[in-house]
Amino acid sequence: MSQVVLRNVLLANGTGADIEIENGIVSAIGSSSAQGIDCSGLIALPGFVDVHTHLREPGFEASETVLSGTKSAAAGGYTAVLAMANTYPVADTSDVVEQIFDLGHDSGFSQVQPIGSVTKGLAGSELSDIFGMNQSRAKVTMFSDDGVCVSDADLMRDALLEVKKFGGVIAQHAQDPNLTNGSQMNSGALSTELGLKGWPAIAEESIIERDALLAEETGSRLHICHLTTAGAVEVVRWAKKRGINITAEATPHHLMLTEEEVRSYDPVYKVNPPLRTKEDSLALRAAVLDGTIDVIGTDHAPHSKEKKECEWQNAAFGMVGLEHAASVLQEVLIEEGGQSWERFSQLMSSTPARIAGLENQGVLAVGQPANIALVDPNSKREISSETHSKSTNNPFSGLVLPGSIVHTLYRGVFTLKDGQLQVLK
């Protein structure tokens, strides 16, 4: 029988406690007389859950593997990641999602829950074996063509009806391809000055509006990936008010960075959807504070050096984010927004776990698996490009952000201890 005791933690509600863990399960939260690890000054939160991670395996192992990606997740306080389907082969069959599920199981650094693709090969013309993937060992409930949009309305409607059968959800990458052919950055005066093809806000907003109505009509559940514009926030607000079963996500980078970064033409800032204006970023922050945004999804998108060390137009879209998401949210939600760690925990843990249908995640309670992140809220650090990911396309490098992850426990086992990634058996 193994026992871990975390002494003198602060819970999200601000009360002090000791946490006893036995055989990977939280056995007591209160006052303990046992010896343990002193966690004075650290906030104990349910391990974070990322609904939007690209682990790149199978197919793009030069950029990331399930092992390296989950190490990066553990370093960022995550105990579960949802692995996007745009691998090679695409996660569009039971075989592929079971392979990813097993790789995650072997890694041991976090739970890996595969996301299935909505359409075969992400081609947008024919539905994947959605029901088959749900019935597989991987028990997929979330489906997404992320990277590309399910742009065909009829197909999107079919997909929503299909996942409704088992209470699943479609996570839409909202980007009308007809409005974004060759687009490189947010459209406006800056894209004009830089001579880069613009990516209009309406390309995102029109799809969200359409899909919200489809979700309403089908009575199914819709999740919108990475909101980026003030208008998109308005649409989601409207849809929620209407009672539509819709949830929305924002990324750390869209909360923190703006299109001004593109002036450098440094492809580390090239991302899909693109960095937007200051006004858009402020609207997203407001939406995080008022609850229009339900979750933070990292859209952790590692790319090997050669895909970023080139001209802007030839570079790949995407940036990493697992190791700094918590710091960005602390800055936005707590330091600037004055909100609570309980709210932080909803955005990072409990709501993403609920959306993704992960029963043993997102909760810190007696009788539950000990998936815990311990945050030092008082530290400040300059973000370095050092990472446990295989890729270094980190747009936060050089920024000074609050907070750091000191320990992460996944099922009662330290994956990160005193800031050091652990060697797992």
Binding site: G188, G195, E311
Partner: protein, 310 residues
């Protein structure tokens, strides 16, 4: 200055200093021995990923007048067609001894990538990148305007009208930035489909009538080249339609003030955006622009390679 990839890198004072230097260096053109020893022993590479005989020759003459060695590297006939990256190409050229790389590239931002990434330590001069900028073109246009109006400082109060395909034009963007820096007022005119989003925020008024703009008596009218492949389809229906609304033809020429000037970055499409009558009019400064191009590029090469003035 170490590099020149964008007009944004210049202050008003440094832009005027460059124009002053160019004005002085232009006198070398009138000498019997058209050569100065300023850059002897320096190697300048013209790295052209896009054909542009005029710009390349202009940079080549400018470098040679300053006694630099010049190598011309054209992407079509090189390892680039075998898939070499920009980084490797630039590092190879530097290993061969390049002190300055003059780059023309079809992708916006490529010169900035070369200058900013610590791939190389050579100076980088933008000779036109995508639809981003063509800073030496704007400088030679400004030098020409200064000469025509007899200014030795800035262009404050000068009214400049830029006409044509603004959307795809790097010449228009660099001019807009530099003319604003030098205090000129810029109006742009062209078909709506070729006016890019947000351009007014960069310091221009927009006109949808050439005639209305001419009625405001601009001091300079800059006609942009219309690329024939864009004459049909997406942007407007035919070149006849384009010419009818946007060409500097004889009627519009007659609206132009006696001391106005006509500019064109070349090469001209006579009969499309500009009539022969306008091109050959005494108010046309097209050849003066070409001569000033050499002087401006001498000043930029000298400024980047001498390591002195900012």
């Amino acid at each position: 200055m170490k590099h020149l990839t964008s007009i944004r890198e210049l202050s008003k004072a440094s832009a005027i200093a460059l124009l002053d230097n160019a004005q002085q260096l232009s006198q070398v053109n009138d000498r019997d021995v058209k050569k100065l020893p300023a850059l002897r022993g320096k190697t300048v590479v013209n790295l052209f990923f896009e054909n542009s005989t005029r710009t390349r020759i202009s940079f080549e003459i400018a470098a040679k007048r300053l006694s630099a060695d010049v190598i011309n590297f054209s992407a079509e006939s090189s390892s680039v067609s075998k898939g070499e990256t920009l980084k490797d190409t630039a590092q190879t050229l530097e290993a061969l001894g390049a002190d300055a790389i003059v780059i023309r590239h079809p992708l916006s931002g490529a010169p900035k990538n070369l200058a900013a990434n610590n791939w190389i330590s050579a100076s980088v001069i933008n000779a036109g990148d995508g639809s981003h900028e063509h800073p030496t073109q704007a400088l030679l246009d400004a030098l020409t305007m200064r000469q025509v109006i007899g200014s030795t400082t800035d262009l404050s109060g000068l009214k400049v009208l830029i006409v044509g395909d603004i959307l795809h034009s790097r010449v228009a963007r660099s001019n807009l930035l530099l003319l604003n820096l030098l205090g000129a007022e810029v109006e742009i005119a062209g078909p709506n489909s070729l006016i890019p989003e947000g351009i007014e925020e960069l310091g221009a008024t927009i006109s949808n009538s050439f005639e209305n703009s001419l009625a405001k008596k601009p001091n300079a009218v800059m006609m942009l080249r219309v690329q024939k492949e864009r004459m049909q389809g997406e942007y407007f229906t035919s070149h006849q339609e384009y010419s009818r609304h946007w060409a500097l033809d004889s009627e519009r020429l007659s609206m132009l003030g006696a001391d106005s000037m006509i500019l064109h970055p070349g090469p001209m499409n006579r009969g499309f955006e500009i009539s022969s009558e306008a091109a050959d009019d005494p108010r046309s400064k097209v050849l003066q622009q070409v001569s000033n191009g050499v002087a401006v590029r001498m000043a930029v090469l000298y400024g980047c390679l001498s390591g002195g003035q900012s």
